[in-house]
Amino acid sequence: MIIKIINNFYHHIRAILIGLKYLLSPGIRITLKYPDELPILPENYRGMLKLNNELCISCGLCSQICPAGAINLKLFEHEQTKQVGRHPEVDYKRCIFCGFCIDICPSKALELTRIHDAAFYVEDELYYEVNRLIIGPKIDPPCMRSKYVISEIDEVRGIVYRNA
């Protein structure tokens, strides 16, 4: 009985001490302070799409494979080059970022961008017409003091964020 009480006391103290250790030791935060710190994502990250209309051969495979039905084809004439073709349009209300469209594109006309913040002020902006898809997504930093960071895996602290 007494041994059990002592044992319990010992384990209580151990639990409190380990909690205190992590409470008091500085810089063990593993989360990203999102609007203040923006992550630079790895190169092969499956983010939003960008279209190179000169390479597009209007095959429509991207629209056929899309599991969410987010891609429609539209007849499009480029303003400067007068090039005509059936090019994809993306509806980010439906897109699930599986990247099948990029993988199946035989001419590499669709590209990955590393941007994934599909947040807009107006709902209609979520629909990317061919014009905007060619330019690609451009997101302003959410707040003035935002800075970019790179995450690195660390043996001691899990993840550390370094300024880019």
């Binding site: 639990a15 001490l17 909690g19 989360t31 495979l61 494979i65 001419s107 995450s151 660390d154 043996e155």
Partner: protein, 397 residues
């Protein structure tokens, strides 16, 4: 199941207690219990609040489009859901992926198993009021999610495995990063987690000898996964019916004898250790070679083939949009993080499956609520729920 709702309350001693459906813990789920004083005399789970009809939707999707769909059953365990479906599809198509693809699949599945168990720990922790142990496992998933992101390009919904192989090869410098993450998680698990939670007298008081599931009951009810193995049954689909690279890898089945809530937690701890062991073996003995079946390697465009040889990112051949597996009926069994996952697919040789049946582990474990909580005290309910690691979206599909 809902008979107790309409029954006349003749016995005034008992009252009906409703828990949920607004997120009692890890998802939307309702429980209807009858309470006599402090003790549940009857306890009925009432699932179906997050039913999305995945099986029916699958009948209207092309074969390749079902890959992202089945992942949505358990978003934390996407790789294991994915491999179950892809193995069934490969049986229909009668193809076998190359060895390197098998190893890469196993690698992702084991990373996913660790993150899923850590999530379970977090939920178990907050349910008995330990908010520290809610934050720690959730934060420690992050390095593992990061290395999964390096392989697949996505954090949770990987859609990594395709019939005949995988979509991408490992990026450069992956091994060092993965080993660092494993070392970190191993230290946290063996030292910090035990000190703050598993060896904590409060946890032991809440968990030990609570919700005991006897060996015979576990077998009779058809329980799967860690919950079964905590009742002294050594059953693991990875050993019984090996798939992917598991026959070539060395690992033990984690099991415990007691069958109480504490044993169910310890089984998961041991499973994480075994997963770490498996990942280390894979990183050391990863075979060289292609990541996709020969049949499909020839079918991509020249530009894509160049990219594949340079960066290791294999595209999808255009034939996947009109994939028509021959008519037939297949069953695949895999060990997902929460237990055995079964896919039963009937094909009539069309663009879409005729029927897809998905039996998820949580669906088979749901009966535990009735068995374990009937007769338990009200304050034991969170402890038992947390230890079962039940995930409503996975059960409801």
């Amino acid at each position: 199941m809902k008979t107790s709702l309409s029954k006349q309350q003749d016995n005034r001693k008992e009252i009906e207690l409703f828990i949920g459906p607004q997120h009692p813990a890890s998802g939307h789920m309702r429980f209807i219990g009858r309470v006599d004083g402090d003790i549940f005399t009857n306890f009925i789970p009432d699932p179906g609040w997050v039913h999305r009809g995945i099986e029916k939707i699958a009948e209207n999707r092309k074969w390749i489009q079902i890959i992202p769909l089945v992942e949505r059953a358990a978003i934390l365990d996407a790789a294991n859901m994915n491999i179950g479906y892809v193995i069934a599809l490969e049986k229909l198509l009668d193809i076998e992926p190359p060895p390197r693809a098998q190893y890469l699949r196993t690698l992702l599945c084991e990373i996913n198993r660790i993150t899923s168990h850590l999530y379970g720990f977090g939920i178990a922790g907050i349910m008995i009021g330990s908010s520290t142990f809610y934050m720690w496992p959730f934060a420690d998933r992050e390095p593992l999610i990061d290395i999964a992101q390096l392989i697949t390009g996505a954090r949770l919904t990987y859609s990594y495995m395709i019939p005949g192989g995988v979509r991408r090869d490992l990026p450069q410098g992956f091994k060092e990063k993965a080993l660092k993450a494993l070392k970190y998680i191993e230290r946290r698990l063996n030292n910090d987690y035990f000190r703050i939670f598993f060896d904590n007298p409060v946890t032991k008081a809440r968990y030990q000898e609570v919700g005991v599931l006897k060996r015979d009951d576990a077998i009779r009810l058809g329980i799967v996964g860690p919950n079964l193995r905590a009742s002294n049954v050594k059953y693991d689909v990875r050993k019984v019916e090996p798939y992917a690279a598991y026959p070539e890898l060395e690992f033990d089945i984690a099991y415990e004898k007691e069958g109480d809530c504490y044993a169910r937690l310890l089984v998961r701890v041991e499973e994480i250790r075994q997963s770490i062991k498996i990942i280390r073996q894979i990183l050391d003995a990863l075979p060289q070679g292609p990541i996709i079946h020969k049949k499909y390697e020839k079918l991509v465009s020249l530009r894509k083939l160049e990219e594949y040889q340079k960066t290791g990112i294999f595209g999808l051949p255009a034939i996947f949009t009109v994939l028509r597996p021959p008519a037939g009926e297949v069953i695949s069994r895999v060990e997902a993080a929460r237990g055995e996952l079964i896919f039963h697919i009937i094909s009539t040789g069309e663009l879409r499956p005729y029927r897809l049946r998905m039996v998820t582990p949580s669906f088979r474990n749901i009966v535990l609520f009735r068995e374990l909580i009937s007769g338990a005290r009200v304050m034991d309910f969170p402890a038992i729920y947390g230890s079962i690691d039940y995930f409503p979206p996975e059960s409801d599909r």
